[in-house]
């Protein structure tokens, strides 16, 4: 099958899955609502019960949109970093995004700033500062062959380790009632979003498009930078563009959701097992699949506890790790 048709097919299929899962997630919850009723309300018809309609429009739909954006962005971020660094353990936070954004967020919380824009802004700034430091480091240590993947990787891991120490220091100095806020943020928490922040999510859409266009160059980069250059890729510009765009979109998402873990690591691997290594297929698959996956996880995080919710980051790994192992075993068997 030609690759173009394959891409369309996978995109349509996973797009439908995403929509279906979204509607199910919007229907579920303490305040009633069934699948068909939800569908009718979303279509703008059958507004029999005003309260249900309000809950769906004002609370659950934004929540599902956030989950889809966070899941899609993190999965795509992991895919790009795994390709750029040619390391299967790479995830979207690996260049220091997690450490930088966490320090920023915790400091904002300790200063008593509001969740938005205070914490989000501090977290975004922290993430960008660390990224700038890591890329500058990778650039200077190797001079001519700038952005070498090993120095990027090591720089990122070291910065994250350093930041982890700072985070633990900050937590150790914190009074009890704030600790839970901080821990929830560190585990990833989708419950804080307010509707007026939704438009920020739109920023990731153009990033998705650019990364999709760079799908083929990413395939070539997997064969080695020199080989890619020999086949007409401007390696330096491509790598730089991918780094900047991916880091930006992940930083934006993290500033709104906290550090939702594991999605970015496992979703790219699952789709690589299912679809092969072609990034022109993997980019749309990760966006849609990552989005669907996080909606499911967030749904479980909402409905599983008898009262309240648990951080979605717990579910992502709890479900994702066994799922991945299962696929791996079936694949090798």
């Amino acid at each position: 099958m030609p690759i173009g048709r394959k891409i369309v097919l996978i995109t349509l299929l996973l797009g439908m899955v995403l929509i279906l899962i979204s509607i199910i997630a919007i229907s579920a919850g303490s305040a009633g609502g069934h699948f068909w009723e939800t569908l009718a309300i979303l279509k703008g018809k059958g507004v029999s019960d005003h309260a249900t309609a309000t809950i769906i429009w004002q609370i659950r739909l934004p929540r599902v949109l956030l989950a889809a954006a966070v899941g899609g962005t993190l999965a795509l971020g992991g895919l790009v970093f795994q390709a750029l660094l040619r390391n299967p353990l790479a995830e979207p936070y690996i260049l220091g995004i997690s450490g930088g954004s966490a320090i920023g967020a915790i400091m904002a919380m300790l200063l008593g700033l509001s969740y938005f824009p205070g914490v989000a802004l501090f977290s975004f700034t922290g993430s960008l500062l660390v990224l700038a430091f890591v890329t500058a480091l990778a650039g200077t240590t190797l001079g001519s062959s700038m952005l070498s993947r090993d120095s990027l990787l090591l720089g990122g891991v070291m910065m994250n380790a350093f930041c982890a120490a700072v985070i633990m220091f900050l937590i150790s100095m914190t009074r009890t009632f704030q600790v839970q806020h901080i821990l929830y943020w560190l585990m990833g928490d989708l419950s804080r979003l307010q509707n007026n922040q939704l438009p920020i999510l739109l920023v990731v859409l153009p990033c998705f498009v650019v990364i999709f266009i760079l799908g083929r160059p990413m395939n070539l980069l997997l064969l080695g930078r020199e080989t890619a250059a020999a086949m007409g890729i401007n390696v330096k510009n491509t790598v730089l563009l991918l780094l900047v765009i991916t880091s930006l979109m992940v930083s934006i998402i993290v500033s709104l959701s906290g550090l939702v873990g594991f999605v970015g690591l496992v979703i790219p691997h699952i789709f690589r097992l299912l679809l092969g290594p072609d990034h022109r297929l993997l980019v749309p698959a990760c966006i849609l699949g990552g989005g669907s996956y996080l909606i499911i996880c967030d749904l479980l995080a909402r409905i599983l506890p008898a009262s309240g919710e648990m951080p979605v980051g717990i579910i992502t790994a709890l479900v994702g790790a066994p799922l991945f192992i299962l696929l791996l075993v079936r694949r090798t068997a």
Binding site: R216, L220, L223, T227, A230, M231, I233
Partner: protein, 270 residues
């Protein structure tokens, strides 16, 4: 002017170390040009410079009469392909997927291949005899098959120049000849210029139109195989004893490096 490549006085430095010094030569269109020389002579660096993958400290490389720096990566790749020494196969691409990557410099911004591209990939795979392996993953191939798959990718790029870096080093004699015959056939059919780095002096002798002998970053001699494969030049460049005579299979020079134990006793300890 029939030169596709003009190399003028180029030098290459890594920090303070001079890798290549004052190198000048030209390669004619359709020529089979072989670069030989001992390890560390700078052969691979020279090949990378010809491909525009390495920046030179001094001098100028002209491709089709135009400075190589004035070409974009894409334009250069539309008529120049490289078969590298080491092939990275970390991700499980199939042979067909790998070969069609050679179409990259000819594709539009979305990088989607059309029917023609698939057709060309098919032809390239048939030419190098890997069509039956199309769906096999790269890491499942033998050395000879892998090398032919990579050459198919280079051919699929429709180049006017193919640069090969020691394409036969890891192969048995039959596979070495198969690769060399493929390149020779492709050149005959398409008028492609072939530039190859090789350690195999006898293959260089049998297939090369002209050879360039490199030692410690300098050109020792450029010319027809018969003139470059000279006993004294080779012995001095490689630092071992050699015998050069006419090969029994045809009018080409045959080079035999002589192990110490076959030397006369009074020379053995030198």
């Amino acid at each position: 002017m029939n030169h596709i490549l003009d190399i003028n006085n180029i030098s290459l430095k890594y920090s303070d170390k001079l890798i290549l010094q004052d190198i000048s030569f030209a390669v004619a269109k359709g020529e089979f040009f072989v670069i030989i020389g001992p390890n560390g002579a700078g052969k691979t660096s020279l090949l990378k410079i010809l491909a525009g993958l390495e920046k030179i400290s001094h001098g100028c490389v002209k491709v089709r009469g135009k400075n190589i720096r004035d070409y974009s990566r894409r334009t250069l790749s539309q008529f120049m392909a490289i078969v590298p020494q080491q092939i990275e196969i970390g991700f499980p691409f199939s042979v067909a997927e790998t070969v069609i990557m050679g179409r990259t410099p000819h594709l539009g911004i979305l990088g989607m291949e059309g029917k023609d591209d698939f057709h060309m990939a098919r032809e390239a795979m048939e030419f190098t005899d890997v069509a039956h392996l199309a769906d096999r993953k790269l890491h499942q191939l033998s050395g000879g098959e892998l090398q032919r798959a990579v050459i198919a990718r280079a051919i699929c790029q429709q180049p006017e120049v193919i640069l090969l870096d020691e394409p036969t080093t890891a192969l048995d004699p039959a596979h070495q000849l198969k690769i060399m015959d493929l390149m020779e056939k492709f050149r005959r059919e398409h008028g492609t210029t072939i530039i190859m780095v090789s350690h195999d002096l006898n293959l260089a002798s049998m297939y090369g139109d002209r050879l360039l002998l490199l030692k410690e970053g300098r050109v020792v001699k450029t010319g027809a195989p018969g003139s470059v494969l000279n006993k004294l030049l080779l012995e001095e460049s490689y630092g071992c004893r050699m015998q050069v005579d006419e090969s029994p299979v045809g009018q080409v020079a045959r080079v035999t490096p002589i192990p110490a134990k076959f030397l006369p006793v009074h020379e053995q300890n030198q």
